[in-house]
Amino acid sequence: MSAVAFRGVTKRFDAFEALAPLDLDIASGEFVTLLGPSGSGKTTLLNICAGYLPPTSGSLLIGGRDVTALPARRRNIGMVFQNYALFPHLDVFENVAYGLRARKVAIAELRRRVQEALRTVRLDDFGARSVRSLSGGQQQRVALARAMVIEPDILLMDEPLGALDKQLRKDVQIEIRRMHVARPRTTLYVTHDQEEALVMSDRIAVMRQGRIVQLGTAQELYSRPADSFVARFLGESNLVRGRVAALEEGRASLAVDGFGAPIEGRPARGLKVSDEACALIRPEHVRPVAGGRQARVLERLFLGEIVALRLVSPGGVELWSRLFSADAPQDDVIEIGWEKERVSILPEAS
């Protein structure tokens, strides 16, 4: 039984369909990230899960129990808001203790649990501090402790790292991942940052226009994206447009104008012969190969241990290649190739 299950959940705001009928199952202790651009419905889904927003139709099950009609305060959820929403008139201890006081937990146990939560986020000695005196990163950790201390059935996080600077964000990502591995909690995490999603998640749901386009592990999404949208959203990608020329079990070839021989690769589901489609070739797979396709180097970007090359075929098709600096060719015209097992033929996202 899944810890959290969305069953045909939809949300309309007047004429705007914020969520198309949507199903999602989260296993107990699993960290699932909703990844998508703004307006894709990920925060709406989170708010429905928290009970801040009623779905237009469908139901939500937590621990097998239908909680669709329950208000937020009866759901046992832990929410971390984007700008933390700490109570400014309470000190750190009382902020963390808030949910326990609402649950009328006895004072001795309350003290013990708040201290433990503060220790988990490494703020042991901050109990008496005013939350306004804390840095952004520290406030973020107080918000996390406040949400975790009530032992929620599900931990919800709405872009909690959005307000932090880049270096701090990386540290906190790793910190949250480490905490999750040490003590797995069912978590639903919302972000538009692919790196955040890749670092922290057990599974990622890529969302677009109120739908989950693809749900899978980071590796699955990266190596076998469902369509060009997912491919573009996760990692760097070369997407070469063409038309499906041949299709058989596990193999397809894509005819591309001005690119010579068709590109072979593994087809995504739902493709038909002569469909418009594109070939995904990750830049790190585009390598110099003797006897390969001819390409001219238009640009060389030195990125430290990596060099990015912008290449163009004689027919005008552009490709990026990312190579270890030591392996990068010096010539202006090179021959390139890739392993066709690494290539995916994907439907063009509408």
Binding site: F81, A85, Y98, G99, A102
Partner: protein
Amino acid sequence: MTPAGAWTKAFAAFVAALVVVPVLATVPLAFSAQSFVRLPPQNWSLRWWGAFFADPSWLRALATSLEVATLSCLLSVMAGTSAALALPRLGPRVRALANGLFLGPLIAPVIVLAVGLYALARALGLVGSTIGLVLAHTMLALPYVVMNVGVSIATLDPRLALAASGLGAGPWRVFFTVVLPSILPGVIGGGVFAFVTSFDEVVLAIFLAGPSVKTLPVRIWEEIRVEYTPVVAVAATIMIVLAGFGLAIGRLTARRRA
């Protein structure tokens, strides 16, 4: 900002004097030894203070004023805070209408209100009752509470209440532990305004007062019509001090929390 020039300063002092002098002129009168009102007093004494505190009708008027002001302050704070909390949840049209209605008592001439309220109070048998005057002053004070609390609510992060209810707090707990502490400066500010509004209100009080419900301003007005002695200045000075106290309390609490 550039430093103020001499002329600017002089002009500011002039305006301040216009505002303050008439108020402060009352104070020396209260310490006059003469039995008639004349500025500046020739001799000084506390005899009119003695007269004030020796006369039960003055003391009763002071007590009535304090009672009416306290009650209408409490009522208008409760009603006004509730209204200010509800306003942002209304649709835009209803909200605009409700806002206009709440500000009505500020805009309508007080004498018009007085005539209307007098008719209403007569119909309800509330003329000459404490409760009638308290309700009338509550209505007059309501706009100040709605406005003051409204400003505080506008700066309140709505996610604080969401966070609290998500942590398991019911509506009352959310209000008393999260919303109220955050908007308290506005509530106190509105309450002080409400108290002072009622405390120095005279028009409605004259219309609605009976022999048993006579506030200090009404008593002053009656006294002046009969004979103009410095005991009136004593009553006025007491009012200035109490109103000043109220405003100071409001300011201090607002600053401490800001």
